[in-house]
Symmetry: none
Subunit: 418 residues, 2 copies
């Protein structure tokens, strides 16, 4: 069962407004098992709206259009629809009364532009006869057309309350559509693509997708089927197969970030953590404390950006800095050890590196990063090389550092460094 979405408004084609309406409607329709084959955005222009409407009606069973229903000059959807479908505009008495009440309650006069809203193409049915959010529907050549306001709140309300239920009732034979998302870190894109290609052949009906969300990669598993239990079962089977192939690279599902996962693991094991950050400048602490309740396990940290702050606040030895440099395994180990000892936590996590754009050398180019972890019994360290600009290096460094905690708590090996 497929439909189209048409969003109308100069604010969309000029890039002034982000198209939240199309995004919301597409998401709601997809989640209900319907397919959106095309989303078109056009300005408040007779020819473009009219063309898009006619084109959509050729291939779709329903069309949802938003925008152009208000009382200003450029709200001309009613007129366009009337002309395009060759139906006269008729005054909807009920709608007119409603506008009158609404205006009177606000001590406003009924202006021609307000009255305009009550003139609708012949055969239209108001969507929300009792309320103030206005929209209408009509049937043309067997295709259902819905016209909703562009104001997001009103659009969402009418879509959820009137449009979706009507479409779902009309086309009862709809299959169920479900989707899962798995978030990965550290496996490169070609490897993921190869794995998915192999799987795709063996999983009929399943649609596998793959989307980079730097520095993460997300795999989506989508399935359309007759009923909930069989769809859920099949999705579970494919998810299990992917988990078998990809293993510990998967760190979370759609609803969680790396910091949530790490936080839950720490809380579950009743462990506390402190962080010593150099090149990330506080980003790891910032991420950890984005999670409500993080004060349960996160005690604090030190941002040791200068050499002096490394020696002063973390007791990194001057000789270490002189002999090996601030960006080295030795230094990161002393940072991790120092922060754990000072803040008296179970785990001490440390990073040091060169975020760029300056500061790189031939031996230690921009993107060189060391990660250290001090625990009760051991101190670990590793060296990585990240690509990209300053923000990307910081982002990858904080991700890798948190992934170390996740892997250590899960008993998985750290991702291989260089």
């Amino acid at each position: 069962m497929q439909g189209e979405i048409i969003t109308i408004g100069n604010e969309l084609t000029s890039g002034r407004t982000l198209n939240l309406n199309a995004w919301y409607a597409a998401g709601r329709l997809t989640a209900s098992g319907l397919r959106v084959s095309r989303i078109t955005s056009v300005g408040d222009d007779f020819k473009m709206v009219s063309d898009s409407l006619k084109k959509a009606m050729k291939t779709s069973r329903f069309v949802i259009a938003t925008g152009g229903l208000g009382s200003t000059e450029d709200d001309i959807t009613n007129e366009i629809v009337a002309k395009a479908l060759k139906r006269p505009l008729c005054l909807d008495r009920q709608m007119f009364e409603q506008i009158k009440c609404h205006a009177e309650a606000r001590d406003m006069e009924i202006t021609p532009s307000l009255e305009k809203m009550a003139w609708m193409p012949e055969g239209s049915k108001m969507l929300n006869p009792e309320g103030t959010a206005c929209g209408f529907s009509l049937v043309e050549k067997g295709v259902r057309l819905y016209f909703l306001p562009g104001v997001p709140d009103q659009m969402r309300y009418l879509l959820d309350k009137f449009v979706l239920p009507e479409i779902l009732t009309l086309y009862k034979t709809l299959p169920v559509m479900r989707q899962r998302i798995l978030k990965l870190y550290g496996l490169n894109e070609p490897s993921i693509a190869e794995i998915l290609k192999e799987l795709q052949g063996k999983t009929e009906g399943i649609i596998l997708g793959f989307y980079p969300h730097f520095p993460e990669n997300h795999i989506t598993i989508s399935l359309r089927g007759k009923d909930e239990p069989s769809v859920t079962k099949e999705l579970g089977r494919v998810e299990k197969e992917i988990r078998r192939l990809v293993g510990s690279y998967i760190f979370a599902d759609r609803n969680h970030g790396m910091e949530d996962v790490v936080g839950r693991l720490l809380a579950a094991k009743n462990l506390t953590i402190s962080v010593a950050e150099s090149c990330t400048g506080g980003m790891i602490g910032h991420r950890l404390t984005n999670v409500p309740g993080s004060s349960e396990y996160f005690q604090g940290g030190v941002v040791a950006y200068s050499d002096q702050s490394k020696t002063k606040l973390l007791s990194v030895r001057k000789e270490t800095l002189e002999k090996y440099g601030a960006v080295s395994d030795k230094t990161v180990r002393e940072m991790a050890y120092g922060v754990r000892k000072y803040i008296k936590t179970d785990l001490g996590l440390a990073v040091t590196g060169i975020a760029g754009p300056d500061g790189g050398t031939k031996e230690k180019p921009v993107g060189t990063v060391h990660i250290g972890l001090a625990t009760k019994d051991d101190t670990y360290s590793g060296k990585y090389r990240f690509w990209g600009n300053r923000e990307q290096v910081k982002s990858n460094t904080s991700m890798m550092a948190l992934d170390w905690i996740r892997r250590w708590l899960n008993g998985d090996p750290f991702l291989p460094g260089i």
Copy 2:
């Protein structure tokens, strides 16, 4: 001069991803004086992409398409374009070499899916022959077609660097369109709206816009005119008028963030800073270190999330914490004083507060935040109440703290607290 945008990807028609690419491209084209007549989003589907392309070519002088250029199974834009325009796919040697280099540098093998990216419709021209972001353009029946990747960073880079300049060079008869953006912090939206409303009447041809970017507010000043000098002059006049009315609430122009402004001021005055963060968890240090070269003035900081880390790392007195609590003027002053002394910087900045969702009380509800600043001669502190969720409170706190530095360095008064 009108064009169309086609965005390709199942993630768009399923509502999984917000169409940021269409929004960005439409905004950039409009700001350059070009008109976007339609934006179409379709899934990774031969017929829909092919139809949309052909339809766009009928009425437009240029078409910008994004998505489907990567190395995964559903990236089939190259093939679709080749079929739709009846051009064979040819191996682009240069592109292939580049992919090879890229892969080798990362110790990856050249898989068939990677190689696929180098097969392009006959007559295509690579947009970015030297770089790693791939896109191509071709001319069909006098219409310029541009194909860009769906990854927002790459799309934006190629659009700004290659596509826009080419279109603007080809169609020189465009009127000049210029826009300025002024970023404000701390002035509420109704006040800004009032000021703009008043100005709008006095400035013919000027379009004033106002966009909230939490926690900032941005004012745009746009003008279309015959030539550059007159447009620039008029924009300058209006900007001056706005600056007169809004004053120190304006902290930056379009190209800079608060951290850039603060960084430049610190560097210009040759001052160093350290930060003691409680509720922001490291976000202030993270923001300061997003600026390249920030090591010149940012020495480091302490994330003192627990009471113990406040006493241990910042020498906040136990009696202060017991008597006034961790979220108090007294505590934030000792934090600022402590971090300045320990890290030996000219300025010590501190924040403590309740980010929520838990931890609020009747006297100190969620969103209560204290900011402190220690300088050579004085220690300042102030109390604020921020609304919103945990992330919003953190975001506003880091913004206000940086704004304190900006205002102090500029000799402006701090924003009034409660």
